[in-house]
């Protein structure tokens, strides 16, 4: 399953902190119309091009995007903290 939420936390002492839960599913919804518009052009390009790339790349990219879910990066020091999580 594609990651649905991205958590970004940037904490710095005595500065404005950022703690965001970005709803990625909304971004996917926003990108969907663009994808639908672009699809006929991509199809035309694919039919016209001489060296056709393998279509196996599409499920592979989707698998890669799905696999991002669960990735966590935390960097902490005395005064700062950065957290990036894909949920």
């Amino acid at each position: 399953m594609l990651p649905m939420i991205m958590r970004l936390k940037i904490y710095e002492e005595e500065k404005r902190n950022i703690n965001l839960y970005l709803p990625l599913f909304l971004i996917y919804l926003l990108l969907l119309p663009l994808l639908i518009v672009a699809l006929p052009f991509v199809l035309l390009w694919y039919l016209w091009t001489a060296e056709r790339p393998s279509l196996e790349i599409i499920p592979a990219v989707l698998a890669l995007m799905s696999a991002v879910s669960g990735t966590e990066i935390e960097v902490k020091s005395d005064r700062t903290e950065v957290v990036l999580k894909f949920l």
Binding site: A60, A63, L64, V68, S69, I73, E74, K76, S77
Partner: protein, 144 residues
């Protein structure tokens, strides 16, 4: 498991079983719990690990106080998907990647990675544990 043990002790207390029988039953529970991988102890489990962890801790020179701490948790599925994409790349791009890696001292051919080898490699990752202890740093890489 504790519930079963309590039941055995209760039966012993009620006189339904002898102390020898109770001993045998408790022993049997102990041996079965050793063969089953428990979720609390994932190192006993088999198969492909789920996550690759990289922990880097640096300590202040005075003592054990943590100075910096980096925790990275990468799903093993991401590694698998990345290698799959790399194997789907056109040959000329793979050649360029191999050349760049060769120049960096890593003699590695991307096209050598087959799906079966990759699965075997990922299963073997479960046994991976890298511990590097420096004067003020500690690096730990492991899979679970």
């Amino acid at each position: 498991m504790n519930e079963v043990r309590m039941k055995i002790l209760k039966m012993l207390g009620e006189g339904k079983i002898t102390s020898e029988e109770a001993d045998k039953l408790i022993e049997a529970i102990g041996s079965s719990s050793q063969t089953e991988p428990s979720p609390a102890n994932p190192t006993r489990a088999t198969g492909v690990p789920k996550y690759l962890y990289v922990n880097v801790k640096s300590y202040s020179e005075e003592g054990e106080e943590e100075k910096e701490n980096v925790n990275i948790k990468v799903p093993v599925a991401l590694i698998k998907a990345g290698v799959n994409i790399a194997s789907l790349m056109p040959e000329d791009i793979q050649g360029e990647i191999n050349k760049a890696m060769d120049e960096s001292g890593v003699k590695f051919n991307l096209s050598d990675i087959k799906k079966e080898n990759l699965d075997e490699f990922l299963v073997a990752l479960r046994e991976l544990e890298v511990n590097v202890d420096g004067e003020n740093e500690r690096v730990r890489i492991y899979c679970q």
